[in-house]
Symmetry: D2
Subunit: 335 residues, 4 copies
């Protein structure tokens, strides 16, 4: 469903071409300072504008509708909305019966019996991630002084990312990429077995970001080529520091105090300047589709702030839970 988290809970809402997109945050502690300007940096990082990103221009100015009073969180639900302004839905009426390959058009039509808002992908649009970024800004304050940083490390198989984008623009095609995320300064003990391991929760929310096809922690898939002796991270002191970090900062699903490290695979966007083959959903005829519209050549470019945000959301929730379930003190017991 459209909700994530146990205590620090976020609810996503809106459609790409509807009135607005946004996020409703429940379970946020009171007293957190959230002046509007703290949202600016991450929202700007997520925006389009650089080569390889869509020409749709949204100001992405957050409006806080509830849950904040005198610039501080009150403990009540926080609703943050972003108006949709730069909308051009004309193309979607034209193509609504010819599902774009690689998009959710076909499955949404089937699942929702044709009632879904098909304009701009509706709720399946990457535009919804602006709400994640806003929630992440607050989550980052909860986990402070821990620090998260994500960056694009590879595009289209190349480490030189500018070159890869230039190439894709020349080819009028789209490209994928790999984004790496690292978190430092985390306490030992975050993560709740059996099902709410750190990897479980991060991957759960990461795969809700449109376009992600893989995730790996620490050494990741490369670990399958390693022996146990190579893979094992030797513990070098009683604070739990390890000599290597193949585990990516997680043992048994729980943070071990070392750097948390993971990488995600971002697919090439489905809509390109090329003609796309598909079928007409009613007549079953083959159709050559020129999508037009305005699309990203490489959405991986815009993923880093989103990845930081969802990681912060998971960690904030886990920190609050850990604070609730601390070991019971002997003195507080009879017997």
């Amino acid at each position: 469903m459209n909700t994530f988290g146990r205590l620090f809970r976020i609810n996503i809402l809106g459609e790409s071409h509807g009135d607005c997109v946004g996020v409703l945050i429940d379970g946020c502690p009171p007293g957190i300072s959230v002046p509007l300007e703290i949202f600016t940096v991450d929202l700007e990082r997520r925006k389009s504008g650089t080569p390889g990103t869509t020409k749709r221009k949204e100001e992405d100015l957050p409006t806080i509708k509830s849950g904040v009073f005198k610039e501080k969180t009150t403990g009540a639900p926080i609703l943050i909305l972003f108006e949709n302004k730069d909308i051009d839905s004309s193309v979607y009426e034209r193509i609504k019966d010819t599902p774009r390959p690689g998009h959710a058009d076909f499955v949404a039509f089937k699942k929702y019996g044709g009632f879904n808002d098909y304009r701009g992908g509706g709720i399946f649009s990457g535009r919804l991630t602006v709400g994640l970024v806003a929630a992440g800004v607050i989550a980052k304050k909860i986990i402070f002084p821990a620090k998260i940083e994500a960056k694009l490390i590879e595009v289209g198989g190349l480490k030189n990312i500018d070159e890869a984008i230039t190439l894709a623009l020349e080819n009028r095609d789209s490209v994928g990429g790999i984004v790496e995320c690292r978190a430092q300064g985390l306490p030992i003990g975050l993560g709740e077995p059996f099902f709410d391991s750190v990897e479980s929760l991060i991957s759960h929310i990461v795969f809700s970001i449109p376009g992600i096809k893989g995730i790996e922690f620490g050494a990741g898939f490369a670990c399958t080529n390693m022996t146990g002796s190579e893979f094992n991270d030797v513990i070098i002191d009683r604070e739990g520091h390890t000599r290597t970090n193949n585990a990516g900062g997680i043992n048994g699903g729980i943070t071990n105090g070392n750097e948390l490290v993971f990488r995600v695979a971002v697919k090439p966007p489905s809509s390109t300047q090329k003609v796309l083959e598909t079928i007409h959903i009613k007549t079953n005829e083959k159709v050559d589709l020129e999508v037009g519209g305005r699309h990203d050549v490489c959405i991986a470019l815009r993923i880093p702030p989103i990845l930081e945000a969802v990681t912060a959301i998971v960690l904030a929730d886990l920190m609050l839970i850990a604070q609730a379930l601390i070991p019971f003190k002997q003195q507080s017991q009879k017997t």
Copy 2:
């Protein structure tokens, strides 16, 4: 926490060296035929016994304690227990202050203030997955006639798996591997945006299996080297069949009717026959640890039935939800 699922909910319980391990299933529809013998095949597949697996021998006979009457589910919670019989905890008393590298020993000690059951890894043990397999057997009946099959496709970097295991046994070291899972015959429309995409739910539960370090769907990480034109799966008919299946049967987080495909990376087990370096948790002294005990050389060997089970659990839950939220019929409305 130790629960997973929205309607078809499983709760895992038990410890490696406690009385038992098991699973409590809530939200199972009444009337499903579950004679004890239907559990045998998958439980046997998960067992140790072949080269490369632990010498611990558990019969793994399920006892159904509630929720089944006259061999059919009643709609009440189903408790399935497995006694622990072949337990040897002696080693764990000896090593409890010297956390094994790569295990949850250190984080469990810190998180639970030393109150955790450290014998055999307690709740962090792979032994807990026997409950997942049992729940999966019931879930498979719910999703029938859809069919799930997982297999080990690579060990230690080799496609010849017997060879890889032999090599590892010779080296007295452990190895990792890659397991692939495929599901056929799924209806279009499973998955609940925004957060409960099929990838989100499968990865959530998959990362609760001890030892998983990565997951990828369809083309997975390889998609980052593909252009959009190469990656896009062309839709060839109005049933949604596609020419290729780079998406792994999922668009926008929702099943598209094609084969669901994903792969997971399984790490090499941490306990090996070699001496392990670690520290003493109280004195901070460096310690050379001979773990002894009985361990798998390659846990990837035992992952396939577990992977099928957790996939079935996710899909069963999503099928029940889809059944609840079908598009509203016009005739059932006033106005």
Copy 3:
């Protein structure tokens, strides 16, 4: 927390004197016709304006911000907002350190460390119930043709309600009342043991309405004076009709097909025209408080549409769950 429901989930938001109040609905089936005018009747019924209700005048026009396309639900989250317009917060700055007796002022100050929005009671205000009424309008469409009707049956101990209100206005004091709610046409089998009995879920949401101090089903507290022979409702046909309805349409927590009946006790509003005794929260001095502001003399007058709404919300959720968990058909099983 601010969320209720398993499949049909509502999230409440806003503050009495903030920008807006509203509701976010998740898990609503697609295809339900929700033109704006269907909200009018219930919202008007909830409004103030008649003798005994507050002079605050809010238009209560709903704005649907997401989840509805071409006047039908899409399956995506539905955000409905109501602007706060007729706000006068002046009094609250004056009295913020002198908690009004019977209000949440004191506990909110303590719980939220002084960060709560104290104007008009913040999130504790009865104003929040406007979102419940809006969600109830949609829920009523889901449970159609079942029908819910609530009415005020007693005020200040009198069955003549106009007389009781006149009396209270003369006394410049406030009064409580009893509201009865009945639902007809419900299917047999709603309610999910062990914890989600119909009584459990209805009472849970009913006690979130500000000012409720008691609830009883069927014969209610009077049953404690009855013998089993008197209380038992004799079943007179295999459709489950009963001769009497002391159970209020519920056995074992599950609807039995007879009329669902319950009553709630609504307290007299705490703010009156009289001087109130309290203390200063910092100095601990005794204070005589003239609240002023605009308040209801009898909030029970405004409870009936809210009670219908929350009942519909519970029943809609239970209907969707029942649809998911229908008994399994033999033919869909391999032995």
Copy 4:
């Protein structure tokens, strides 16, 4: 469903005439001392044996199957089972097509398509409450030094309870009663608006106890005859003590530090020594039913320890949540 609670979560399981009944507790902090003998007092209080209670004799000895190590909670799920030993199911085969009035027989048959375990009421039996009592014993340790006490204050309309029971036994009929529960020493601030008010959560779990038909807090239904001036509890110091306690220790759904007080109405048991009228579920014929079996004349006698247990369960959960969501400290924020 069969689960209750957000952090301290309990799952109920078992059937009246199955192998066992029990409870699975998740989210219990580690380090709580739970030697088996601490369960004895409350379990004994719940037992039958005194005049007016059933002749079924169960030892009710708890077996802890997981989550406890060296007599302390470990942080892992705690499974507590109670074997069913004194079972006589013969009568239930005879009467399974003739639903007993006032019981769940009819609705269970309909809801579960005939697959429910009808022996002794299956999961609808009051026997399931033994698991609640066990979980309550642990919850009481979490909320210590707060203290809960419930007692029977009225049976069959009489304050002299022995007399009322004697009368009922003479009449070979059953009687209802009123149980009052009080909790002292609670911190200010428990309860989570909007939906998880203290009244909401307590009533939710209370109505899962078989046989409850009403609940009221503080002055309860009597408040509807009071004016605001009479009902308002004057705050007499800045610790929040009030002169009267008509609110029952709760304002705005949140504990105010005064005594928590509520009362529940318990219906007369449906099965009596008298002949009961019903119908045959297949033939629709009228049937005179002699139930036989062994039943309580007044289940209200056994409710006090159950009421204490469920209250403790709610309060323990709310305390853990409050601990997680404490107001944010200024020093832990940048800017």
